[in-house]
Amino acid sequence: MHAGDVGTGVGGGSRCVEPVVVSGLSYAYPDGKAALRGIDLRVGFGEKVAVLGPNGAGKSTLLKCLVGVIRGVGRVEVFGMPVEPRYLKQIRSRVGVLLQDPDDQLFLPRVYEDVAFGPTQRGWSDDAVREAVLRALAEVGLEGFETRSTYNLSLGEKKRVALAGLLVTNPELYLLDEPTSGLDPSAREALLSHLERLSAAMVVATHDLDAAARLCKRAVFMHEGAVKAEGSVEELAAFYEKSRSGLLT
């Protein structure tokens, strides 16, 4: 069976198709080192899943595979569409990706233009873009930041602007790569409170257990490119200790 024949069919027009279906996904870096080994993962509509694990476990690599930045071997479907070049545009129009380093994500000189990037690419009218940008900035508590330089923002503000850049197009699936890394407690709290309000499906790659517990009911624990356990965040917290002590095989 072709990967794209699963569910209600390729194209993802139906709401019955799960946002993420990954089965037997493997990926090796160009130097031959295995980054992902036979990953299985399903994410339902509105479901929030944390991907936990130490550095180098393959969390970010898994997120990259979900949006076709890199291609592994195995079945990867997003909204029923196989993650292949011909479906990437459709997939990416329904997925919002928050990169680990907001300086990579905010590539235009000022906040307004950067948040307006997504809707502009979709061909929205100038008035619709303006309305959506102002609404998205208000949602993340950054009213009045329109003409601020993206370079001069604090890390917390950059992360919130990056989030506004996702909210503005109202994606059906969020992929968040270490959303709270490097943030001070107040900036972390502000970002988490915005993320908690989102109702769309979400995959959060993090080692911030507290943030994962607040955002997600379900979690998977990855180690050396493989999923070692699945359960609630609280249940999986112990795996960090095991991975540190080398008890995880």
């Binding site: 380093d101 990579d104 905010l106 000189p109 502009t120 370079y151």
Partner: protein, 214 residues
């Protein structure tokens, strides 16, 4: 007075083109200087600052290069062209922020691809400067560099910077693709040209044409 960026850019282009077109006759050049000064007053850019900044570089270039290979008439003409272009460039830099400059060019229908490049350059120039500062600071913290090792260390540092820039460019490309890049530049926010400004531009154009026809 807050002038719309497209007015500033259009006036700059008109004055620059008109000033550098031959023939170079003293009354015509004096009129251009007067127009430039008037433009600075309208934009509320300090005249003294622009004059100092715009004069020294052409003076140095002229002193270095002018006396060697160019004839007497050409020397003054070269100096004049350099002076005008630099003056206009400096005024643009003083009167507009980089984002406003992009807004002005966007409204004057400059190609999106060029403006995207300009926007990325503006956005990442500071980051590159940060990287250079970091490398320099890390050299100092590790005891500095002896003069005889300098070329090798500089080559190494340049390599590090090049790799950082390349990686950064790759990340930005990925981010642009993930956010659905279709070569459409978002509309840059800036005040729009008023009727009065458009009238001023039209008058300026007429004056410049009259100067050249006369």
């Amino acid at each position: 007075m807050r002038v719309a960026p497209e007015t500033v850019v259009a006036a700059a282009v008109m004055v620059a083109v008109s000033s550098v077109l031959p023939p170079y006759e003293p009354p015509r050049m004096a009129l251009h200087v007067l127009l430039l000064a008037l433009w600075l007053v309208v934009l509320a850019v300090p005249l003294k600052r622009v004059a100092i900044r715009a004069l020294w570089l052409p003076a140095v270039i002229f002193a270095w290069y002018g006396g060697r290979s160019l004839g007497a008439a050409w020397r003054w003409e070269t100096f004049w062209v350099l002076l005008v272009l630099l003056q206009v460039g400096i005024v643009l830099g003083d009167a507009l922020t980089p984002a406003e400059l992009i807004a002005g060019l966007q409204r004057l229908r400059c190609p999106s691809a060029l403006l995207f490049l300009l926007a990325l350059m503006v956005r990442y120039m500071n980051r590159l400067a940060d990287s250079v500062r970091e490398v320099h600071r890390s050299m100092l913290l590790r005891g500095g560099v002896r003069a005889r090792h300098l070329p090798r260390v500089l080559a190494g540092a340049s390599h590090v910077l090049l790799v950082r820039v390349y990686r950064g460019a790759e990340s930005v490309e990925t981010a642009m693709e993930l956010r659905g890049y279709e070569a459409r530049l978002p509309l840059f926010l800036a005040p729009r040209a008023s009727q009065a400004e458009l009238c001023m531009l039209a008058t300026l154009a007429l004056v410049l044409v009259a100067v050249h026809v006369a």
